[in-house]
Amino acid sequence: MDNQILIDYLPIAVLLGISIFFAVLLPVLSLTLGPKQGAKRNLAPYESGMTAIGEAQRRLPVKFYRIAVLFILFDVDIILLVPWAVTFRKLGLYGLYAMLIFMVIFILGDAWVWKKGVLEWD
């Protein structure tokens, strides 16, 4: 049993070794072989001519992100609810109470989100 597991894990060790090797190798190669960018000028969008001006920081709407995070939240909520629903009869009242506590906390969180105005699009 012991040896079997050891043999089973040999490829993993090899793979791990390879991935670490590459992860180290590639940055090192690009650092040593890659062209050196000397002056800060070379990094500017236009090497000659006008210096780039203007606001580098622009506003980025976060409402899409908020909705996406809310989606994840409900998604995970369902992941936790489904196993309970499947074993509902087996778990009985204990499961009901446990899930009630969980749902109360979850709904409090939703209320918080709602009240904070996250759900408003504009």
Partner: protein, 103 residues
């Protein structure tokens, strides 16, 4: 039946890919994806160990995979919020460019 070691191999491969992603990618989002791959590799391991384990009547591995998913979601939410916040101020999510903290 497919032997357990195959699942473990897939999981280890996934973990290594994730590890590689974290170490080699420069984009913070890609690093985060690498971390998620690592956590998913763990999930494969957990479910496989449960199915082939000594106590298949106790679904510990299954229950646990659910928790790992939950935590991964929470981490992703926080991480993406940080990334967006940085992107708004800097127009960049490249991890290497975050280098103001040096002495």
């Amino acid at each position: 039946m497919i032997p357990l070691s195959w699942y473990l191999l897939v999981a280890a491969a996934l973990f290594s890919i994730g590890l590689y992603g974290v170490l080699a990618r420069r984009n913070a989002v890609a690093i985060l994806m690498g971390v998620e791959l690592m956590l998913n590799a763990v999930n494969i391991n957990l479910v496989a160990f449960w199915r082939y384990g000594r106590f298949p009547e106790q679904p510990v591995g299954l229950a646990w995979a659910v928790f790992v998913l939950t935590v991964a979601a929470a981490e992703a939410a926080v991480g993406l919020a940080l990334i967006i916040s940085i992107y708004r101020h800097r127009d960049s999510v490249v991890a290497e460019e975050m280098d103001t903290l040096k002495n």
